[in-house]
């Protein structure tokens, strides 16, 4: 990640300060400080990636009264904490929400039936809609550009967006087995043809991803074999220390692995249907997690290591390029497609583990 960090650039991110000062004078700065504290707490309790509908937070300027201001938008619910506001939002995630911060630091909240007229509020206002954050002070309405693609908000610590970024970065490495742990996943070693996986490769893949996330993410706890109340634990669990956000990651693999048993050596083979099993399993974990945890801040990630090869017989095979790479662009199709059916299931990731090109059979 690179940043352009001139003073002019930093001032551009902070144009709202001049706007608040112009609209409200010194009282504008006081209100902004309170507003930022409230937004930081609210986005820790409800990460921005989980906000489906617009969120508007207002802090009265000067002697303004939060109850009176918000009453113009509906009958407010008084709530004592940011966590309580997060629960309120989670109950109707599809509805826009207006939050007023009272002088005693508690909150007044209403669900909005129609988009709010931000400028008409004439207080210090934070507004988030889609990925766009704005600070509004009367007629001064400033979009706040995002500093980093890793963080979904300039006002909150990164959570799910940083995990998305870490997974995509890891996926690039996994394609070439460029990880000290993942190298062990191939029968014949990483310098072999990379066409058959070792016995029980899932633990190698899980440990490789675990290591990448443990070292690549900040302010998180990453654990393996996280127990839900399902019969099998989920492969990796990520929780953010400054937030209630959690991620469950289920790891599956496709292709052929060696299988050693008392009866001798054979193969285990998984086709695309194994990915569907993983998706269904993950959906079940998420349901169980939701019923055992009231905060509803859990997202599910399915990652699929795809080592499928066409016309394969054994680990010493030399495959033609067309056979070795046959599945490289075969995207997985899910029925049911949980990522489309529910909001807590991220789009599955498929990482095609490339064979070693120097081992391809020469074309006749």
């Amino acid at each position: 990640v690179t940043f352009e960090t001139s003073g002019a650039r930093i001032l551009m991110f902070s144009a709202y300060v001049a706007g608040a000062s112009q609209s409200f004078g010194a009282e504008g700065a006081v209100a902004l400080r309170t507003l930022f504290d409230a937004v930081r707490l609210l986005l820790a309790a409800r990460p921005p990636e989980l906000l489906v509908a617009p969120l508007t937070v207002l802090v009265p300027v000067g002697e303004g009264d939060a109850d009176r201001i918000i009453a113009a938008h509906g009958t407010p619910s008084p709530l004592a904490s940011a966590d309580a506001v997060a629960h309120f939002i989670a109950r109707r995630p599809d509805r826009g929400c207006l939050v007023a911060v009272a002088a005693d630091g508690t909150y007044r909240v209403v669900n909005l039936m129609a988009p709010v007229d931000r400028a008409a509020i004439a207080e210090a206002v934070y507004h988030r809609e889609g990925d766009v954050e704005r600070i509004v002070a009367g007629t001064n309405d400033n979009a706040v550009p995002r500093v980093s693609t890793i963080a979904a908000s300039n006002f909150a610590g990164p959570t799910f967006s940083s995990l998305d970024e870490a997974l995509d970065r890891y996926g690039q490495q996994a394609r070439e087995s460029a990880c000290e742990v993942l190298k062990r996943v191939w029968e014949g070693g990483v310098d072999g043809p990379r066409i058959v996986l070792v016995n029980r490769p899932e633990s190698v893949m899980r440990d490789s991803l675990y290591q990448a996330l443990s070292t690549g993410l900040r302010h998180v706890d990453v654990t393996r074999e996280h127990t839900t109340d399902a019969s099998k634990p989920v492969d990796i669990h990520v929780s953010w220390r400054s937030s209630l956000a959690e991620a469950l990651i289920e790891v599956k693999w496709l292709g052929r692995s060696l299988a050693q048993s008392k009866g001798g050596i054979g193969y285990t083979e998984y086709s695309a249907s194994r990915a569907q099993e993983g998706a269904n399993q993950l959906a079940d974990y998420l349901d169980r997690k939701r019923s055992s945890s009231a905060n509803h801040l859990v997202l599910g990630y399915l990652v699929v290591f795809d080592a499928r090869r066409r016309a394969l017989t054994g680990p010493e095979d030399r495959l033609a390029k067309a056979d070795a790479l046959h599945f490289e662009h075969h995207e997985l199709v899910f029925h049911p497609d949980h990522a489309q059916l529910r909001t807590d299931f991220k789009e599955p990731r498929r990482w095609f583990l490339r064979p070693r090109e120097s081992c391809f059979l020469e074309a006749a």
Binding site: G7, F13, S14, R33, R40, R146
Partner: protein, 39 residues
């Protein structure tokens, strides 16, 4: 850190450091420590 905040505020024409969004505050410290931001 207090001195760094003062230098940043000066470099930004008197803009109060605590009115920077947290990510922007981090960015300004990063710029200062990298020598890209000076009063």
């Amino acid at each position: 850190v207090h001195e760094e905040r003062r230098v940043i505020e000066e470099a930004l024409g008197g803009l109060p450091f605590d009115l920077l969004a947290p990510a922007v505050a981090w960015l300004s410290l990063y710029a200062l420590r990298g020598g890209e931001l000076a009063a």
